[in-house]
Symmetry: C2
Subunit: 241 residues, 2 copies
């Protein structure tokens, strides 16, 4: 599933003939982004990986922007939403599953946040996920007047947490820069930041804004579930009060 762009300008991506090509471009683009990161991704290597000319790509996608959004949708296809009619599964449980599925997918494609968070992306899978989340939130007891707020708060938490959590491994800072940040944390912790100094054992690399190495959060990495529980508890408590 991908967005349709103006048929007058370029070939229709949904027609039977040649549809494979557009799909192949998306898959190859995804593969290249997965390997080398979205910053390093460019049209020329993509074309040569596919064995075509760079300009031929512009017959399937009006611009790199359209292609990137197609890649986002392609990856989000993997997010699993439990259907609401599944018996014996509470709305809360379904929402927890959706959250962790979304987190898993975004985590295993660490370059997607760079694309996802910095632009507006409405795609079939975006809508599908939103539909599932909204229905769960209703099931949890959130009233209609609060539903949009709850949905925004939920997306903000899940997507935001994962976006900050998962630094692309290819985006490792240069050793010099990494060392400078580590030193900064040691020095800063000693001077004006007693709580930071107390909690962040050197090398812990455990908390946002205080860690200098990329990849997922270290240690137990319980923060996501812990925070989601607090957020959903807050949702439910708010409806009762």
């Amino acid at each position: 599933m991908r967005l349709q762009h103006d048929r007058k300008r370029v070939c229709a991506p949904f027609t039977k003939r040649k549809r494979v090509d557009a799909q192949a471009i998306v898959e190859q683009a995804h593969a290249l982004i997965h390997e080398g990161g979205s910053a390093a991704f460019s049209m020329r290597p993509l074309a040569s990986a596919l064995g075509t000319s760079t300009s031929a790509l512009y017959r399937r996608f009006p611009s790199k922007e359209w292609l990137l959004i197609a890649v986002v949708d392609y990856v989000l296809e993997d997010v699993v939403a439990t259907p609401p009619n599944a018996q014996a599964v509470t709305a809360r449980r379904r929402l927890e599953h959706l959250s962790s599925s979304l987190r898993e997918v975004l985590s295993s494609h660490p370059h997607l946040h760079e694309i996802l968070t910095s632009r507006v992306t409405v795609t079939p899978n975006t809508i599908r996920i939103a539909e599932a989340a909204l229905s769960c939130l209703r099931g949890v007891g959130v009233g209609d007047s609060d539903l949009v707020d709850a949905y925004n708060a939920w997306s903000g938490y899940v997507i935001g947490f994962t976006a900050i959590e998962t630094k692309p491994p290819g985006f490792t800072p240069e050793p010099d820069l990494q060392e400078a940040m580590r030193r900064q944390l040691e020095d800063g912790g000693g001077l004006g930041a007693p709580t930071v100094a107390e909690l962040m054992s050197p090398g812990a690399n455990i908390a946002f804004g205080l860690r200098w190495a990329p990849g997922r959060l270290g240690a137990a990495n319980t923060s996501f579930d812990w925070g989601l529980k607090a957020l959903l508890d807050g949702f439910e408590a708010g409806q009762r009060g």
Copy 2:
């Protein structure tokens, strides 16, 4: 306040002499990013805006990466953290102020997320903000064993929400693409997404993943505070249970 890089390779940014220059570079870079977005920002225009050669910039900053992180720290300077010894102000209230100050600053510099969320950034102001947040969370009643989790959840929510919320206005998608997304939402809403169709009046542009126009969320825009309340309520309830 900025990170120090290796003095052997380049001139020290903290020495009295020439320090103005490094500061001037950061400020000019910030101005250019503010106007044109971080994607469009490049070294050549920066140099010519400052009246120097491009290569002269590399004497103050080892790479564009160091410069971008310096810009992040420069902007985060504006985040206000109420000191913990301020009487008659509860920890909860201080945390709410810190959250909205952080949100305000990030919102008014909409291009910062692209820099902030996609790489590891430890800077003096990052540490200052973390220190304030940790101390507030402790004051709210979060136990030491949960403090890192609570801090991560809080950062994930605040930074994440704001990152998704604030699309850089310069990042407006091409009209064709924007129209395709709007249509997608209409069609998709009608077919497999009844809740989306029910809630998202056309043109509402109100919810993450379902809106096609950049800028802040429309309408009442109460979602941030609503979600923060739920999260902090959840924090407090969790400590009592």
